[in-house]
């Protein structure tokens, strides 16, 4: 009797699943808070996590008395916290953009750099580092010109892919790959032409990704705002993403114009990836691996797997960045090396164990 009552109340098992996912998101949020505290506390000079918590609470929410010493505040508030914040935002942004692109081109190997956006940003960064391009942006010359490069690349991909009034997944994939190759070659050519070993090293470092440029300022604010916006909109578009991932015909049948929706997605994802890459360089693997893991924990439906991916991406990148700045101190390891070293074996494991249902 009890069974039938429960079945009637929740015939699709949706309530059960949504309860489970609510718990998952709560756990991930808790983990994220712990991560932020821990990665802000840890470093060459460790600060007691309790002090970190008090400083952050005081600064962010004006709670408690400022009883901490100025050195701790300098380390936590001016030094590490903006960097941790950037790591979380970049990780979350790359994870959700990767997931959206995988649905958009119907390919589980897609990642945020598929559209050549990172190659465009790299070209912009190389121009800035090697030839002083974008000096008009003042202290944000590097970030600004990287963003312009990202923008140029995504516009190019978009116009190539949008031939004859439709945007198909295959054309999008091919256009992204072609533009990516062309711009990577251009970056290499710029490095070759500059003849500056120092400059080449800086470009190389940038290509591998780094969060070392993080500081309180407009770029950080923009990244945080754009990433939050992207997570919100993509999550709200969850069911339409499900439909698009099945196929253009299915999307059409369900009242979603595939070309129009893909265009909207493309604009949003390009903006988010462009902003993220401009601030942090090309950090690989986060946008490829995290979506798979999120689907495994939260199910394939995007309404749940997207927020899960955002939280997991943020947590993962904060820890990866801690490793980047402490593993070989005082030298800083490019974070892209860490994400790839951790991500690749993990992906190999996932490939073996994932999607074994059929």
């Amino acid at each position: 009797m009890v069974m039938t009552v429960r079945r009637a109340a929740d015939p699709l098992g949706r309530l059960r699943r949504s309860r489970r996912n609510t718990i998952l998101v709560t756990v991930l949020l808790t983990l994220l808070s712990v991560t932020v505290l821990a990665t802000t506390a840890l470093g060459p000079v460790s600060v007691d996590p309790g002090t970190v918590a008090r400083i952050l609470a005081g600064k962010l929410f004006a709670v408690g008395d400022p009883t901490w010493d100025a050195t701790a505040e300098g380390i936590v508030w001016a030094g590490r916290f903006p960097r941790v914040l950037l790591a979380v935002a970049v990780g979350a942004g790359l994870a959700v953009c990767g997931m959206a692109l995988q649905a958009m081109v119907r390919n589980m190997l897609a990642d945020p750099y598929l559209l050549g956006i990172n190659s465009g940003a790299s070209t912009g960064a190389a121009l800035s580092i090697l030839f002083g391009f974008g000096l008009g942006f003042g202290e944000y010359a590097l970030t600004g010109s990287a963003f312009l490069g990202a923008l140029a690349a995504s516009l190019l991909v978009f116009f190539v892919a949008r031939a004859a009034g439709t945007v198909t997944s295959v054309r999008l994939l091919l256009a992204g790959v072609a533009v990516g190759y062309a711009l990577s070659a251009l970056t290499s050519f710029l490095i070759f032409m500059s003849g500056s070993a120092e400059g080449s090293r800086s470009v190389m470092f940038w290509l591998l990704g780094s969060l070392a440029l993080a500081s309180w300022g407009v770029p950080l604010l923009i990244v945080v705002v754009v990433v939050i916006l992207t997570i919100g909109v993509l999550t709200a578009w969850g069911t339409r993403l499900d439909a698009l991932a099945i196929g253009d015909e299915t999307a059409h049948i369900l009242g979603v114009s595939a070309t129009r929706f893909r265009t909207q997605l493309l604009l949003l994802v390009s903006l988010c990836v462009g902003v993220v890459v401009a601030a942090s360089g090309s950090i690989g693997f986060v946008g490829l691996v995290i979506p798979h893991l999120a689907r495994r924990l939260a199910g394939a439906a995007h309404a749940w797997s997207l927020p899960a991916a955002a939280l997991m991406g943020g947590i993962f990148l904060a820890w990866a960045d801690l490793l980047a700045r402490t593993a070989l101190q005082p030298r800083e390891l490019p974070i892209g090396i860490i994400t790839a070293l951790v991500g690749a074996p993990f992906l190999l494991y996932l490939i073996r164990s994932l999607y074994r249902t059929t």
Binding site: D10, P11, L12, G13, R14, A103, R106, N107, M108, A236, W237, T239, R240, D242, A243, A245, I246, G247, E249, T250, H252, I253, L254, G255, V256, S257, R295, G299, A300, A301, A303, Y355, T357, T358
Partner: protein, 274 residues
Amino acid sequence: MITADGVSFSYGSRRALAEVSLQAVGGQVLGLVGPNGSGKTTLLRTLYHALRPQTGAVLLDGVDLGRRKTRDVAREISVVVQESPGDLPLLVSDMVLLGRTPHRSAFAANRERDHAIAAEALERVGALHLTDHPFEGLSGGERQRVLIARALAQEASHLLLDEPTNHLDVRYQHEVLDLVRDLAINAGHTVVVVLHDLNLAATYCDRVVLLEGGRIAASGAADEVLVPETLAPVYEVNVRRILLDDGFQLVFSPRGPARASSPSDPSALERTQA
């Protein structure tokens, strides 16, 4: 009511439909039949504007589909076509709930009512027990039923199906078409169905449109169109029609030298040697 008015469509230079006109009305099942490549599926796809007619127009209750939003059309026309989520491990419940998409604004979540409607649709096709399974892992017949459930969850008054009996064994072929016919007869839906099997068309369709090379070869009541004189030249086979107590059955044999066959009751046989 769906009306095609002089619809033509070409893939590049290959003409797939030439000036096709038809009308599908509520309360009836309209069957689209014809040999491979005759334009059945192309015609069906123009009826929900997955393909836009290059000349002519498709009208939904008298209004040109081209003047209506995709989402508004999706509330009135539901479609069953084979398309699978590939690598994305969506569950059956996810698939069926997608049928509610056109009824929700872009930013709204599924409400309890949507769940109830989706569950009822699954129950109706006898697939409620599959709700927690990944769609990809289902058999062909189970998939077909889930896709029909998704169309039912869409609560549209027009239902279009492209070969819904593909991959189904005999029992489910009849169950699915029974269900579809029930929607037309008892709920007054307009149903258009592409069928390969002419005997299924004979049993479940009120009216039939026979296509040949992108043109209408014949159209009308099922028992008037599905006669040996009409079918034999279009399909290029020998056709015999055997009368049964509750209808008729078509029997096909290859052309060429007539096979020796001795029906037990010659009077129950109409025979055409085209």
